[in-house]
Symmetry: C2
Subunit: 542 residues, 2 copies
């Protein structure tokens, strides 16, 4: 027997309808690529997104068409998303930090038919336009006055393009499982893989993420998503903020400390979200200038682990609460948030910082478990670590085009590729990546834990740990270090420093000093490259 | 093209799975019918609900079966709900305040097959048991020691009944639109009508209701649902609290000021939800005893309009924020909440109280409009009132068995039967019931506004306004009053008092003094009865 409740499909454009109806005057403030700060409202975005839908439809785009975007966070970029979704199309965010060839590869894989692009990224467009045969239309997110004069590529400016429409448009209606968005994971190995969000997954993810123990987002918040829209579905903020009528402040192309600070201050931002790198720049700007953050209540930090010193600085020096979060493009992306449950309500000082080093706990709608190599579930004891697997309405069940099948099992669990432990209260901590963890005599050793420990030595600048094949133990850890300028500690000094701080059998078998450690485009240590460099390395006893 | 996200049906028992996994130690504290305060946890409720499912299945109950409950708020009552939902059954709450014949009528209409009942309501069971032929099993929510000795009705005690199960049970899986709960509206006219909730509608309603601008419910809250589980789906709290791991404090059968205060104080309740009547008792207890409410942060008040003086008392005397809310059984039930948007962030004193007299604004997932008699949408100007219509995933699309079809239109709008206006910022205020509003010369007059005004006169105890047929204006208002003891004001005094405070054409044509005004079981003025009494009344000019 079915219930007798209304069929009300969860469609993303209903979020924008709602924002226009209930929070129509609430502002979206963006630092534009052209320079000035631009102010608009949810009403305006709603009206203009409808024009974008009309214009897309007039140009022959519709249900299922992938509409790429290559832009900074801005109101126009949001309109492009909602315009694409409104015709049943799929916004497809491209990461401008990739090489043009990678972008072209991704666009061809996705078969993008149209492209919205910021002025800043026209060089990329010129480099790729004739390499993507499916691409039929390029719309530059600017007005006629700012259009370049002699481009070899045919393009229209966004303002003229939507200006020809009257906005009298009814969003298309369809099943809530219809695709609406797409984002490729960068992937340290292999080709990028596309995640294909549905209207349902985005709406549910937004509902899940606004709750008090997640982003805690209501109409009184002023949120600055420093995390770019082209990164991990913008952490869902392009959906969650209009869902609750929060004011959005878009930093646009400028992420340096002074520029971020300016907007935090003038727009009275109450919460913000970004990767640690951005916060490093802001914190050092604040330290230099002696400025404070009187309006900011909390920062959500994810993308990579938040250093303890950063949490400490925000909380102790600026009275800003840090929420350490974890997620993945494949998860829409939020997976867990470091909000304190009542059991930890009295923690302070180091005990609180200890708990905040964990990536937090999963909200309703995210199921989590850790398993061993035999797929047996491991206990939630805060130390036994294994493969982290997740399930939920915001989690992918496949990649576009079918790659990466081995990450999905028949019970619906997605293998995140992360290694983690979970404590008795549900707080999860990433200890490694599956492909990096060292398997020594059947037991796992976390390379990240060893690296964090090694950089605590005063002479070490950066550290990386990889597994080296070993005849008896299968693999044993090698610690690779860059020393600080002018320092040249002995290997024994480093190991002695680490001794007693980890289990004895975790201790690296040797230390190698290098001049440089390779990094990916997003700043992560490129361990595949390191493993290649040390492919022939053997320990004295190996 | 469909998205590639996981199929993860929104099923209510996933909420309890989540609560057990992530908030397993969080307490549910209930004042039991047997007397003592009983403490349990989400882990326990989860384990015991699985036993309840097993026991129901062992007794032959399953998909689609209506399982009635007749009980106060308690952990056992929650287990009964989840136990019923877990086998694919439908919890069906019965209101013990109805007459036994009404309860039997409703049970027969719903074809209830089993009944969970509190000890307090055994007299009702004895009165109805042989009048409901579909009823096959009666489970008393108590243990063997408390069972009555010589009942003429066959019953088992809950503890022995679940005690025979091992709890090793996998919840049934099915479509998320499967029915899971049922609640009949009392209905001032006609037979009661059944609303049939689905798993999807309950899960979405819970997600919508926990957000900051709605109930603002997180793991750190301690919520006391004074609103009974048999009233309007318990305002969704039996789903929303476990969804976020909030501690629940159930008042059980005792709603007097002293009993409510005791639990608020000893359990450090931070938020609570009830109808105004309960708060009147609490406020008068506080006034008598001089006690304060140091732990309580906010009260959600709905069910009927919250008097301004009550809001003032909570906020000014006890520093407890009032959230005026509106909803209906047909809406799961939340429709709007009086949380202040930033545009009203600076309001205080009378200006804030003015705004709090409104029933608030609708969260995402509740669409609202007001229409005139010709179904044309009326402006959101804060004064033009019309029929209030709603739409959303938590709104009914029909009543069980097909009654009340005229309330649903083909575009999915449900006519609430309320008359309201909505202001430019989306804040709605109920001004009347459709069937009570007076239509004078094609214009509407709110009887509630006139009543509120009339009771402001120092000699008036209670007032009711009804329309009397009029040859020229179709209908004109008659003010019916009960005077305070020992007072006997003239009709002219009352009218003079009202003069200038409402539009001239709203002024009642006459005043009738009576000894008594009829009320419904839930304390509302029974205007149908009044209209019968005054059926032959005519104005001097009519």
């Amino acid at each position: 027997m079915l219930g007798l409740m209304q069929e009300w499909p969860l469609l993303c454009h209903k979020i924008l309808d709602y924002a226009a109806a209930q929070h129509g005057d609430r502002e979206i403030v963006s630092r534009s690529v052209e320079g000035p700060i631009v102010r608009t409202t949810y009403s305006d975005i709603h009206a203009r997104a409808k024009k974008a839908s009309q214009a897309l439809e007039a140009d022959g785009f519709g249900l299922g068409d992938r509409i790429a975007t290559l832009g900074w966070n801005s109101a126009r970029h949001m309109e492009a998303w909602y315009g694409a979704m409104g015709v049943g199309g799929v916004y497809h965010t491209l990461n401008p930090r990739l090489f043009p060839e990678q972008i072209a590869w991704i666009m061809n894989h996705a078969e993008d038919k149209a492209l919205f692009v910021d002025l800043s990224f026209l060089p990329i467009v010129e480099a790729i336009a004739d390499k993507v045969p499916s691409l039929r239309k390029i719309i530059v997110l600017t007005d006629a006055d700012h259009m370049p004069e002699n481009s070899k590529v045919e393009m229209v400016d966004y303002e003229s393009w939507i200006g020809r429409q009257d906005g009298d448009y009814a969003w298309k209606q369809f099943d809530e499982n219809t695709a609406c968005g797409m984002c490729y994971t960068s992937g340290t190995t292999g080709d990028p893989k596309g995640v294909l969000y549905s209207h349902r997954s985005n709406v549910l993810h937004a509902l899940i993420s606004v709750q008090p123990d997640a982003l805690n987002l209501g109409s009184n918040e002023v949120i600055m998503p420093v995390v770019p829209m082209f990164h991990a579905n913008a952490w869902g903020i392009a959906h969650s903020a209009p869902m609750v009528g929060a004011k959005i402040v878009n930093p646009g192309p400028l992420m340096d400390g002074a520029s971020i600070y300016e907007l935090l201050d003038t727009e009275k931002v109450t919460m913000t979200a970004a990767v640690p790198t951005v916060w490093l720049m802001l914190l050092s700007y604040l330290e230099e200038t002696g400025k404070k953050l009187p309006h900011l209540n909390r920062v959500v930090i994810g993308g990579s682990a938040c250093p303890r010193a950063m949490t400490e600085a925000f909380q102790n020096d600026y009275d800003v609460q840090v929420i350490h979060a974890w997620g993945m493009t494949e998860m829409s992306p939020l997976g867990s948030l470091g909000v304190m449950k009542p059991v930890y309500g009295d923690l302070e000082g180091d005990a609180l910082l200890d708990m905040q080093e964990k990536q937090g706990y999963a909200p309703f709608g995210v199921e989590m478990l850790v398993t061993d190599d035999e797929n047996s579930e491991l206990p939630w004891d805060g130390k036994t670590f294994g493969k982290l697997k997740v399930r939920g309405p915001g989690v992918a069940r496949a990649y576009f085009g079918g790659a990466g099948e081995e990450q999905f099992d028949e019970e619906g669990w997605f293998d995140t590729g992360d290694v983690a432990h979970i404590n008795a209260n549900g707080y999860m901590q990433i200890t490694d990546r599956s492909k990096d963890v060292i398997k020594s005599g059947g037991e796992w050793i976390s390379t990240i834990d060893l690296e964090n420990l090694a950089v605590g030595h005063p002479d070490i600048q950066e550290a990386a740990v990889i597994g080296i094949v070993h005849p008896k133990w299968d693999e044993r850890p090698l610690l690779i270090c860059i020393t600080k300028e002018g320092k040249s500690p002995a290997a024994e000094d480093i190991l002695e420093f680490m001794q007693g701080k980890v289990a004895k059998w975790w201790m690296p078998n040797a230390v190698a000093f290098v001049e440089e450690i390779p990094h990916t485009a997003t700043g992560k240590i490129q361990k595949t490259e390191l493993r290649k460099q040390f492919a022939d390395y053997r320990f004295d006893d190996g």
